[in-house]
């Protein structure tokens, strides 16, 4: 194939991916329910809408402790002892977008599609 053809193909892929990425970043999750997973297992499901008091969850992985901060508005990785700290730098999870990931400690915080009943006080989904 000609180099020019390749440039056109690759430019198109970049544009399509940029549009997809923007729409993912600005997407709104249908529910405000987040799931916290470690090693692929569900640790807790929380409905952010029904969280009435701020709290923290501490998870321990292979590379130390991760502290997750939960409030009525958002959820974030407040601190972590993992080597890269990319999970902390991800920032707040509010309405949708990409999940918070900590690869060293294998933690994922993501919005869930289902809308199950949540505990009125803690927001914990039963």
């Amino acid at each position: 194939m000609k180099t020019r053809t390749w440039i056109i193909i690759l430019s198109s892929v970049v544009i399509v991916c940029a549009i997809l990425w923007m729409s993912i970043l600005n997407s709104l999750s249908p529910s405000k329910i987040v799931g916290i997973y470690q090693d692929g297992n569900l640790v807790e499901k929380i409905d952010l809408n029904s969280v009435t008091y701020q709290r923290e969850i501490t998870l321990t992985g292979e590379f130390g402790k991760n502290t997750i901060y939960i409030s009525n508005e958002h959820i974030e990785m407040k601190s972590a002892e993992c080597p890269d700290k990319l999970c902390v730098k991800h920032g707040e999870l509010k309405s949708g977008g990409t999940p918070i990931v900590c690869l060293p400690n294998r933690i994922v915080i993501q919005f869930e599609d289902d809308s199950k009943e949540a505990d009125a006080k803690t927001g914990a989904v039963r």
């Binding site: 194939m1 690759l10 991916c17 990425w21 692929g40």
Partner: protein, 168 residues
């Protein structure tokens, strides 16, 4: 492997390791896993064209193994390996379709494949399919990084070809 190739492979591996270690010391641009220049790819590509498949495989896998040990990034080893295997296989299979002036295209394709491999490994390790949301940005970063490292390798290869032709 001829002695000449063995020595060249060892030297190139050492150079790739230096480049990898320096890059690992620079803080990441974004808080997203997998977005990096991957400057060590220049050495793998160069070796694939200048020496051969076996030599390039040695440069790549020795660099991944020693690089993880030297930088202490044990976590990234499994991801580098997953990305490395997939991108290398693609590179070897598709090499014949690209001229020496299209090395950068091959590099782009293999860099994108590298990022896909890493993402698949991350999805496997965390069992979270939602990580696929990171795919678009990883494809874009793979295209940019692959074009840059590919152009570097391409320029060196073209100069080397010119030089050896003039000599003869």
């Amino acid at each position: 492997m001829k002695t000449r190739n063995l020595i060249l492979t060892a030297i190139i591996t050492a150079l790739a390791l230096v480049a990898f270690t320096i890059e690992a010391a620079i803080p990441p641009l974004t808080p997203i896993y997998g977005i990096k220049l991957g400057i060590a790819n220049v050495f793998t590509l160069f070796t694939l064209y200048a020496l051969g498949i076996k030599e390039a495989a040695a440069v790549l896998f020795l660099r991944i193994l020693l690089g993880s040990i030297f930088t202490g990034q044990i976590v990234s080893f499994i991801y580098s390996l997953a990305g490395g295997i997939l991108s290398f296989v693609l590179m070897v299979l598709l090499k014949k379709f690209f001229t020496l002036k299209q090395v950068w295209v091959l590099s782009v394709l293999s860099a994108v494949m590298h990022n896909i491999g890493q993402l698949l490994a991350a999805i496997f390790m965390t069992s979270s399919v939602q990580l696929v949301y990171y795919l678009p940005v990883l494809v874009i970063s793979g295209i940019i990084a692959g074009a840059f490292t590919g152009l570097c390798a391409q320029l060196v290869l073209l100069r080397l070809k010119k030089w050896s032709e003039n000599k003869l």
